[in-house]
Symmetry: C2
Subunit: 323 residues, 2 copies
């Protein structure tokens, strides 16, 4: 019988976050918080950049992936983990599985860039290729899981992953006092949900904003509509932010986010270059969306102390968007 | 009467370093130390990158410049500071003078890139242009100093500047234990001298190496010859490393450096891209020379714990050397 699932959501709690932080600490960096007087001047606000681009594997997603991998029982772990992703989650889950010494299979369209495949292979991941369609991906992935018994770690709609991502805001609160707001990019909503989980419990006065490419603004439209709207294959340079919200992340976004702002492609590239030039760090386009939104909405952030989550730094250095 | 100066050198001491560190702390960043498992694997050593590219004004030179500026008496400070440089020292001295609120004049050839001029102006510096020759620069600079009474802060051959640069190794020793070696780029020798000053006193078992572009290898040749050899206008992508040693820096280099290695232009670009790609930080070509040398001489650094001074991150993002 086909029916819509009505099972209650498994919502992670702040205790899960604290347990996750303890579990993953040996395998991740405590990333630095950087500031720029020049960019503060442009923004009219005091910005604290939480640099997850300097994280292991170059992205915050290593937090959730590591929490999922190291939370498995020995028996389950022996069967390995699997996911479908051609982005940072695939890299980060491969890193985490390598740290625990367990098998990892990534289902990826054969059209994915060779650099992404090489990066997964470099971390010891095994790749199974599918066609570049949802139906092929789901069929191939079901076969992989059935054959191996591997544990499926979803890129964001998984309580273990959200609790892991929530350790980023947990660290940030230990590094910076009295934040008026935190802003993070939103794609599937894993980082935003983790930030909501931590801040709603430990810093309830800190507002939470999300930042999204205008060309992939499904979360902003969902937020206004009051239900999840999923786009079909949006195009944006911020390629980490193309995926839609799911039930678990929608729970956090709909309950705790104050607003979702959008930025044009040109705004994103400008903000990205600004950070490279003045902060001397390599950030990927997705990571530039929050700054682009801050610069577009100075009235919202004026004179505030704002945590800005820089989500990752995995870019193709041979093809930069301003060149 | 013309004669070679025989006045004794004014050699800074470790007490000067400790005083400098206290003096400049409010105006500089304590820069992070970053590591990369992948680059460690390539090097066969444990590398600790001291990230002065993330320093104020994007370069370690802000340490020496700030020490000189804030060490001036109120009377002297009122007359301002001056220097001749078209590189990071000009930027950093402008930053430091701005922090103290005193005048700063930079003599720069009119042929210097507009981006460099804009950066100095952006920090509140005043530019006086000269012809692109040593004679013009010296004549114009003498006029500036005579007219203003400004204090000349040399880019490296100045005990206040060397004591300031020495605070970088001082910080590194507080951040990383048991370093077998420290390696830094060498141009005029300010950073290397500062590192020698601190390490010879506080960590005498830590070896000190310098790294130089093969196409501007005057320090390596000086080191072998036993006296200063100055090249006339060498060409290298590592444009911060073209200047020659002077008497004060030669004192430290000749007494405390274990060896000076060289790297080709191709080695430098490869190492620079490696750091951008895997460490997600923007470093300038000069800063890549130490890693290039480590990768060329694995036998020297094998299994050692090595501090690598990343000196700066001021690059033209519109013209990258691998594109």
């Amino acid at each position: 019988m086909n029916s819509v699932s009505t099972s209650p959501l498994s919502i992670p709690t702040i205790d899960d976050v604290i347990a996750a932080h303890k579990r993953i600490k040996p395998y991740i960096h405590q990333t630095p918080v950087l500031t720029s007087r020049l960019i503060n001047g442009l923004a009219g606000a005091e910005l604290f950049f939480k640099c997850e681009n300097l994280q292991k594997a170059g992205a915050f997603k290593v937090r959730g992936a590591t929490n999922a991998v190291f939370g498995l029982s020995a028996d389950k772990a022996g069967l390995g983990v699997a996911t479908h992703s051609s982005g940072n989650h695939a890299l980060c889950l491969s890193y985490a599985a390598g740290q625990r010494g367990i098998p990892i299979t990534v289902v990826m369209p054969h059209t994915a860039p060779q650099a992404k495949k090489d990066a997964v292979l470099g971390y010891g991941g095994k790749i199974v290729e599918c066609e570049p369609s949802t139906s092929s991906r789901e069929a191939v992935f079901a076969d992989v899981v059935a054959a191996s018994g591997a544990d499926f770690v979803h890129p964001y709609n998984d309580p273990r992953v959200i609790a892991g991502q929530a350790t980023c805001a947990h660290e940030l609160l230990q590094q910076v006092d009295n934040l008026d707001a935190v802003i993070a990019p939103i794609g599937g909503g894993g980082m935003v949900s983790g930030s909501c989980l931590t801040l709603s419990q430990l810093a309830p006065k800190t507002k939470i904003y999300a930042a999204e490419p205008l060309q992939a603004d499904d979360a902003a439209r969902s937020f206004k509509a009051g239900y999840i709207i999923a786009d079909d294959a949006p195009h944006t340079i911020a390629d980490g932010l193309k995926v839609p919200l799911k039930d678990l992340t929608w729970h956090f976004v709909s309950n705790h986010v104050s607003d979702i702002f959008t930025a044009t492609e040109a705004d994103i590239v400008m903000a990205m270059k600004l950070v490279w030039k003045h902060m001397k760090i390599v950030i990927e386009p997705s990571s530039a969306v929050p700054l682009a939104c801050i610069l577009k909405h100075p009235e919202v952030f004026k004179n505030q102390r704002v945590g800005v989550i820089v989500t990752g730094g995995n870019v193709d250095l041979d093809s930069l968007p301003w060149l």
